[in-house]
Amino acid sequence: MPLAEMLVDGDSAGAFSAHGAIHAWAMATAAVVAAACGLVGTLLVVRRLSLLGDAIGHAVLPGIAVAVLFGGRPGGPLVILGAAAAALVTVWLTQAIRAAGGPAEDAGAGVVFTTLFALGVVIVALAPAGTHLDAGCVLHGDLAFLPFDTVPVAGVEIPRACLAGVVTLVVLAAAAAATWRLQAFVAFDPAAARAAGLPVAAATAGLLGATAVATVASFDAVGAVLAVALLVVPAAAAELLTRRLHRMAILAMLLGALGGCVGYLAAWRWNTSAAGMIAVVLGLEYLAAALLAPDDGWISRGVSRLRLGWRVACEDRLAAAWRSEEAGVPSLPSAGGVTRRAADGWLRLRGRLTSAGGRWRLTPTGRREAEMIVRSHRLWETWLGRHADLPADHLHPPAEWVEHHLGAAMRRRLEAETVGHTSDPHGRGIPPEA
């Protein structure tokens, strides 16, 4: 790629600024196109249509190829029409095959999109020389060259691909905003939507058409095969970060745009395909989301597991101290084991325990808390004893772990359902609510 060689130079700063405008346009194109794909991709992911998005990404190729053969310009209306037609043909064929007794789900889609893609490649290969397509472009786009094909807009030379991307983004965003409620409803519960008389089929058709349009817009930037990365990865990352659909959409667009820019820069830095690096950066974004997501991320899950373990250790110590008091021994010896000793230390720090001659005593605060834990324990034993067919000697172990998960309101409900039992099945009294 001569252009890439031109751009790449040992001293990045000098080379970069010299061609800053080119880079800016390329990044803008990538960002805009990725944002459009991210928006559409959100709905695809939530509706479990990711692989159909992949299929459409592949299958628009023959539509685009035919349109170009008929004189359509890349990104022009004829090409978009061709792509949309190909997308709808894909979907229709997949459904028709299944309805006519063919294979279900993925297999049918697999047959259709590989066939259409192969057809497209053959058309491209057989096309007369001089048409705007070639195999490399098909597979991974040509982002670095895009800034050189410009159209004048209000006196400024804007790259055609960027303009097409912006128009696509605006149109799709407007369409999304207009039909958002419908799309959201259908995404979460298609059966209910259908029962409510909403035009589910039309919504789906609209979504798939939008996918085709977004794929076409990204075709020049990242080619056919990597459109799936733009469609699915930012949306999947966004899904890990939030549960609200509109926030997911916005996040997907932002993550996509970010990936587009950073990916392009990385490709420039390492002198390789922009489309590939964009996909890689998006993958890293997904990884980061999986790690760092507030509720579901691996890090936060690990942290929450540790916190539960710690809480259990502390509560167990408090309960042990209280039971010890109940049995007449007012203080608890120091424990063996690192965790229990650390828990004792922590409880002392929080004012739940005081030290008394190498042993531990409950403070008033600590006693109140400990009572609630033992109350939870014994209420649960009583409730289980009444409502589950368990012998008395099987009640302690379950209560041992459930006691840490009961709140005040639940304790009152348990009490209400075990009216008449003031002591647990072992005959020990149940402390009243604080």
Binding site: S304, D389, A408, M410
Partner: protein
């Protein structure tokens, strides 16, 4: 060790072990407990029904016994041993919906699958296995449908194919998951007849069942499950109005909420 002549080998090392025992079994999906602390022992061959409302965990309990769903508390024992040691003695009839009936196998192919475990790796079923499969099909009344592709069967016939497959396992304990679901009355009676024969031959038959009326007629012993064991024992003693109310009127919310709190590693409100 003694071996009963035509019945079930239940005497192991001189001590009597329950045929099937759930000891404080808690089953969870992910981190969320859905069946709590079930304590159940079945000592003698009988027709045993596991009854309860939808979503109560009956199928889950069965699957946990078979190791298909992890047991997070307690243990399940067959003949006093863990399942892995006595697998050839336990037969399973899963729910019909678990299978794609468009799969390209015939009735005979499916019933032969019951013989695979005893064949082991790489060996093909031979004439002995085919004879066994044919006999099993005969017992359930499907002898003339041997070559048919399974999609071309009615619901009751499909269920009977599954039953024949289990019979071909030649097990001592049979676990059936909703075998009567979506099957017309006539076929249900057919299936029940076969199960009765199994019981007479000294096998234990455990059936997850949803219909109270037929449960009262068919099963010798039963257990009422609604996320926990409500009652177990002889059917007439178990299916009392009080027990039924406790099962079907649902104390579900408490277990549900506590289960959710456990899954989220927090507290209920």
């Amino acid at each position: 060790m003694t071996v009963a002549a035509a019945g079930v080998q239940t005497v192991v090392d001189g001590s009597r072990e329950p045929l099937l025992e759930f000891h404080d079994v808690t089953v969870a999906y992910g981190r969320r407990p859905v069946v709590w602390h079930v304590d159940l022992a079945i000592d003698a061959p009988c027709l045993f029904g596991i009854i309860g409302p939808n979503g109560a965990g009956k199928s889950t309990l069965l699957k946990a016994a078979l190791g298909l769903v992890p047991v997070v508390g307690g243990r399940v024992r067959f003949f006093g041993a863990p399942l892995d040691r006595v697998r050839p003695r336990v037969g399973y009839v899963p729910q019909r919906e678990t299978v794609d009936w468009d799969f390209p196998v015939s009735v005979m192919d499916v019933v032969l699958m019951g013989t695979y475990a005893r064949l082991g790796w790489f060996r093909r079923p031979g004439s002995k296995e085919r004879r066994l499969a044919a006999e099993s099909l005969d017992r359930v009344g499907l002898a003339d449908l041997v070559g048919r592709q399974i999609g071309r069967l009615s619901g009751g016939q499909q269920q009977r194919v599954f039953l024949a497959r289990a019979l071909a396992q030649q097990a001592d304990v049979y676990l059936l998951d909703e075998p009567m679901a979506g099957v017309d009355v006539r076929s249900q009676e057919e299936i029940f007849r076969v199960l009765g024969e199994l019981r007479r031959d000294g096998r234990l038959v455990v059936v997850v069942h949803h219909d109270l009326r037929t449960a009262a007629e068919w099963f010798d012993r039963a257990a009422l499950i609604d996320m926990r064991l409500v009652a177990s024992g002889p059917t007439a003693e178990v299916l009392t109005p009080d027990n039924l109310r406790r099962t079907y009127a649902g104390q579900l919310e408490i277990l549900d909420e506590v289960g959710r709190a456990v899954a989220e590693r927090g507290r209920t409100s």
